[in-house]
């Protein structure tokens, strides 16, 4: 792993004849999938014009563009990310995710707090470089296209999100908690350590959420993905990342979000006894005091979750503090 960012080198795209490209497509994708009209692109500035079956040449490698990637959350239909393409590397046949440059500045609103955000290809390029070889991060590299756009090329990770993975475990929550959660908790601790690795090097992930962790089928490891989100941080540069880590922990402990609505709908007696102490400081419809619903959640673990409560007086300032408490909770979990 490199500690410093390597300089991004603009590379003149290598020249390929159309016949050679067609031969490569036939070899890696199949003779029936060779486009009749081959559109070869070296300048990706207008990413809407980079389409299915086009060949993009970056550096000395041609890539056959397949579909746009999609991202969905919270039940909203998945949205196409037109600047993120799945592609086949026509040099070795591997599947890649190619992230083109999409300049976007916008205001995010989280729990009524508004802050300035932007996409930062250079940040993602730095992090890819920084985490090269790290088993907990998506792997890839960056280079500039013929118009100096910072393109990121990441290995495609085959697997489900961590969020989807855990939903299939356990007959019920108690079974999940005793038989599956300890292993998941170990995974989570390693993911937090990976974020600490970034923070210690002055980088934030920027968009920590449960669908940005993929369980890699090839290695069995969970990996963080998508590092291009950036925001104008306040006093604590890492506060938003820590908030995301807390949300994921609550999701993992609860085997999904435990919401006020769910409790009401299910007629749970707990619903009548909820106070601001029990709910997430930002998402007031989600519970963090999970011990109230699942009494077998140990105190040390619940104690961590309560740092994300609307009534919390003490917050985590950094991953070191969080990891300290996670370690204690993990030790207690062993003795259950």
């Amino acid at each position: 792993m490199g500690d410093t960012m390597e300089e991004i080198v603009q590379t003149t795209p290598k020249q390929f004849s159309r016949d050679e490209l067609k031969n490569r497509i036939a070899h890696w994708v199949g003779p029936n999938h060779v486009p009749k009209q081959l559109n070869v692109i070296t300048d990706t500035t207008d990413f809407f014009r980079v389409d299915y079956d086009d060949v993009v040449i970056l550096g000395d490698r041609p890539y056959l563009i397949r579909n746009n990637e999609r991202e969905g959350r919270f039940g909203i239909d998945e949205q196409q990310k037109f600047w993120v393409k799945r592609a086949r590397d026509l040099s070795d046949g591997s599947v890649k995710i190619i992230k083109l440059v999409f300049r976007e500045r916008f205001q995010s609103r989280v729990g009524g707090i508004v802050f300035d955000c932007y996409r930062s290809p250079k940040k993602e390029a730095r992090i890819l470089d920084l985490t090269k070889g790290h088993p907990r991060f998506m792997q890839g590299f960056s280079l500039n296209d013929s118009s100096n756009n910072v393109i990121r090329i990441a290995d495609f990770i085959k697997g489900k999100t961590l969020a989807d993975t855990i939903l299939q475990f356990g007959r019920d929550h108690e079974d999940y908690f005793y038989h599956y959660f300890p292993t998941i908790f170990d995974e989570y601790i390693e993911l937090v350590e990976a974020i600490q690795f970034l923070h210690q090097r002055g980088e934030k992930h920027g968009d920590i959420r449960r669908d940005h962790v993929i369980k890699d089928e090839a290695t069995g490891n969970c990996r963080w993905i998508d590092f291009d989100f950036n925001y104008m941080h306040g006093e604590n540069m890492f506060g938003y990342d820590l908030f995301g880590l807390g949300n994921i922990l609550a999701y993992l402990v609860g085997r999904g979000d435990v919401t006020v609505q769910q409790l009401r709908d299910s007629g749970s007696p707990v619903a009548e006894r909820l106070t601001s102490y029990d709910v997430n400081i930002i998402f007031n419809n989600r519970l963090v005091n999970l011990k109230k619903v699942y009494p077998y959640v140990p105190d040390d673990l619940n104690f961590i979750l309560m740092h994300f409560s609307a009534d919390a007086d003490v917050f985590y300032d950094n991953t070191h503090q969080l990891l300290h408490d996670l370690g204690e909770a993990r030790n207690k979990l062993k003795t259950l």
Binding site: I113, M232, E235, I282, F315
Partner: protein, 155 residues
């Protein structure tokens, strides 16, 4: 605490365009106007966005120019306020720092150390708990991490 530095009469006031900064300056003015031997440093920290926040170098230059001008204007306003209250011109210094900073509090305290100020004065923004949770609080961080100086947090 190093009492020699803490007891000196160099006072650092962190200011920006906010009302809490105005309160901090007003507090110092009301407390110390007419007394001799105090040296006031008005400091503004402008956190510079990271490299690709700007689409072009021209946009970055324009941003820097605007921020610089508004910060200079704020500093000048507060200098005048203090002089009108009886401070002498040579007793007031202005410092403008534009840099990428992970923490404004750390930047302020680094300047406090550099300028050997025995007192740091800052206004409290009165941010919500949610906001403090996600983005932290500069006054809280200064209060908790300052060493070798006194801290006045003005409500």
């Amino acid at each position: 605490m190093n009492s020699r530095k803490a007891n000196n009469r160099n006072i650092l006031i962190a200011v920006d365009e906010s009302e809490n900064a105005a309160r901090a300056v007003a507090y110092v003015r009301d407390l110390l106007a007419g007394l001799t031997g105090y040296h006031i440093t008005l400091i503004t920290i402008i956190p510079e966005p990271s490299e690709d926040y700007f689409i072009s170098e021209a946009e970055r230059t324009e941003w820097m120019k605007d921020k610089n001008a508004s910060a200079r204007s704020i500093l000048e306003t507060y200098r005048k306020l203090l002089i009108d209250a009886g401070f002498r011109d040579e007793e007031i210094k202005e410092v403008l720092v534009i840099k990428e900073c992970t923490s404004i509090a750390e930047c302020i305290l680094a300047e406090q150390e550099k300028l050997a100020c025995g007192t740091v004065v800052i206004g409290r923004r009165g941010i919500s708990k949610k906001e403090e949770f996600i983005f932290g609080s500069t006054s809280s961080k200064i209060l908790h991490t300052a060493r070798d100086c006194a801290v006045w947090v003005i409500e």
